[in-house]
């Protein structure tokens, strides 16, 4: 590899600084002894300790986790089903419309998604709480899952499924024993993506949450309006950690699957 020119080095540094200095400051100040956010008074983990004493935050964190697990699981099931139909069903009436509509929420402003879901829930008389946030998050996360899963399905060799049928599987068994294990990396990375999206969503959650259930981002946002406390820095640091792990493992899993698939294909071509 050739060495980078000074211009490239500078622009890379500036770019990354622009992206990550705010977060870095947040992380550093989460270990601040002082109660004043802007004054450094030595290293301490006491805000983390206090955070775990704060019932309101812990409660919100628990709600967030529940919502993330439930919505990402639901979104994975629905998104995988949508991907199967889109890739497999061949041509049917309204296929283009259907695939367009699957992807539309990806670019839809969140405020609009949130508002329309709110209207729907009020319309059908559903009390806002954990359930409504789960439904809302499932709605937008399943689009992401179906994008990830369908890109894997496009390269899936149909004759594998036919071979399973031929050897005595019912269609459901063929899916469970052959298709699912093979596309599993894509499904898992879809789940992780959905999980991460649900974890840090503020806009849609604030439209669809009720007094009974508040998620962590909402809690943080409302707490900050009363002034930034070091406790929130600590909490945010933990969230950054979780999201980072989620995103990195999602991309690692899909990359690994891709590498393995490439290697298999090359081996097959040689054979």
């Amino acid at each position: 590899m050739s060495r980078m020119s000074w211009f490239n080095t500078v622009s890379l540094t500036l770019g990354f600084a622009f992206l990550y200095i705010p977060m870095l400051i947040l992380i550093v100040y989460s270990f601040n002894e002082s109660k004043l956010v802007t004054v450094w008074a030595g290293f301490s983990t006491k805000w983390y300790g206090e955070l775990f004493q704060n019932d309101a935050f812990l409660n919100a964190a628990w709600v967030t986790l529940k919502v993330a697990v439930m919505s990402s699981t639901l979104a994975t099931i629905l998104g995988t089903m949508a991907a199967l139909v889109l890739v497999r069903a061949g041509r049917f009436m309204g296929r283009t419309l259907f695939s367009g509509m699957i992807y539309a929420p990806l670019v839809m402003p969140e405020v609009i998604t949130g508002l329309s879901l709110l209207l729907l829930f009020i319309g059908i008389g559903l009390d806002r709480g954990v359930m409504t946030i789960v439904l809302a998050h499932t709605t937008f996360a399943m689009c992401y899952v179906s994008v990830v899963v369908s890109s894997r399905l496009v390269t899936f060799d149909r004759s594998l499924e036919e071979a399973a049928l031929d050897l005595g599987c019912s269609p459901a068994e063929a899916f469970r024993l052959v298709t699912l294990p093979i596309i599993a990396p894509a499904v898992i990375s879809g789940w992780l993506l959905a999980f991460t999206l649900s974890l840090d969503d503020l806009v849609i959650a604030s439209f669809t949450s009720g007094p009974a259930a508040t998620t962590l981002p909402i809690k943080i946002f409302s707490a900050v309006r009363l002034g930034v406390s070091p406790e929130i820095n600590a909490l945010s640091t933990i969230m950054i950690g979780i999201v980072t792990v989620g995103v990195i493992s999602a991309s690692l899993i899909s990359k690994q699957a891709l590498v393995r698939q490439k290697r298999d294909e090359q081996a097959a071509a040689r054979g």
Partner: protein
């Protein structure tokens, strides 16, 4: 090759294992199979041969249950198979891509079908090991498909499709992905396994040599229709159409007009100023009817002088020589510009070759060497 006594297709009382009755398959506007009727018998090694798009794969997929006939009936052992889903048919298929399950080991791939039937662990183990022995892959049982070579993968696919002891095994271009040498070895292995297991094999291929080598009978297909169904030697020696003659092996086709001469002989006028050719044919031709004389290059002799007693002899000039090692094919240009191929075996070293480019030579063949075809 089967023993000469194995010919159930000649026995009018024999019950076919597979029976296609006026089967038509359409995909939208496209007719893949056109009103096709065919019987395939038990223990046969039956080859479906044709260019791509002739409908041979569609026929196989209908037998496996992945396609249903638009019209007509397909029977397996006397039963209409249309309502039977693929997983309930006593038919297994070896896929062109092998379709080995990448997440399972060789052992588990072979056991896959057995596990679907409620068989005991010991039964499955015994059967998988028997299959591994059959295809000589005992050492590779715990490898994954991507960790073995193409030839080994091909054998795993064969073992997996044979494990359930199907009545009928379908092979879709089974040797297409192998190189030539391996392909030839595998052909004999396939025949061996077919004989050992007594399973009926239906093989789809576009490789005429492969079909001729392995099959007890060959069906030559074109555009969804059967052109000819016969044993390999009959397909080669007595093709029933110019299409079949041309598709199988190398052939010279001489177009002319027939004139009956005696019991089953014909004169064929084929070019201005050239003496008529003579040929024997059991098929009848009217006087002046258009006909095609098909002669295999190896049945055409090449000589410097006109052979005294030849039924047919034409003079030409050596236009080109294709040296194939064991054989040489001479492309001889006749006075009217048409080319006739003559093939000789190279029993001598190449430096002793009798003819070279631009030599004037005589080509000759007997009255029974060629086949007279109407179209």
């Amino acid at each position: 090759m089967q023993s000469s006594t194995f010919a159930p297709w000649e026995d009018p009382d024999a019950k076919p294992l597979i029976r296609f009755k006026n089967v038509t398959k359409r995909f939208g506007e496209f007719t893949a199979i056109d009103n096709l009727t065919l019987d395939i018998f038990e223990r046969e090694f039956f080859a479906l041969l044709g260019p791509s798009g002739c409908g041979k794969t569609t026929m196989m997929r209908m037998l496996a249950g992945f396609e249903t006939a638009t019209e007509g009936v397909i029977e397996l052992a006397g039963q209409d198979i249309a309502p039977v889903p693929p997983n309930k048919r006593a038919v297994n298929m070896m896929f062109q891509s092998y379709a080995l399950f990448p997440h399972l080991s060789v052992w588990d791939n072979i056991a896959f079908g057995l596990r679907r039937d409620s068989k005991s662990k010991d039964e499955i183990k015994a059967r998988v090991e028997e299959m591994l022995r059959l295809v000589r892959l005992e050492k590779f049982a715990h490898r994954k498909p991507h960790q073995i070579s193409g030839g080994q993968r091909q054998r795993v696919a064969l073992a997996r499709s044979l494990a359930k002891a199907p009545k009928l095994l379908l092979l879709d271009e089974p040797l297409g992905a192998l190189d030539k040498k391996l392909r030839q070895d595998t052909q004999f292995e396939l025949m061996d396994i077919q004989e050992k297991t007594g399973t009926t094999f239906v093989i789809v291929t576009h490789d005429q040599e492969e079909a001729m080598t392995v099959a007890s009978r060959v069906a030559v297909m074109d555009q969804g229709q059967l052109m000819q169904v016969a044993t390999p030697d009959r397909i080669y020696e007595t093709p029933n159409s110019v299409y079949v003659a041309d598709f199988i092996g190398d052939v010279n086709i001489i177009e002319g007009r027939a004139t009956p001469e005696g019991e089953d002989g014909y004169h064929i006028d084929w070019a201005e100023g050239q003496p008529a050719l003579t040929a024997k044919s059991s098929a009848k031709f009217d006087k002046g009817q258009k006909c095609h004389l098909a002669i295999r290059p190896e049945k055409v002799a090449i000589s410097a002088e006109r052979p005294a007693d030849a039924a047919n002899a034409v003079q030409g000039r050596v236009h080109d020589i294709a040296y194939l090692g064991n054989l040489s094919t001479y492309y001889v240009e006749l006075a009217d510009g048409s080319i006739i191929k003559a093939q000789t075996s190279n029993t001598r070293r190449i430096s002793r070759r009798s003819f070279t480019w631009e030599d004037t030579v005589w080509l000759s063949w007997t009255a029974t060497a060629g086949v007279l075809l109407a179209n």
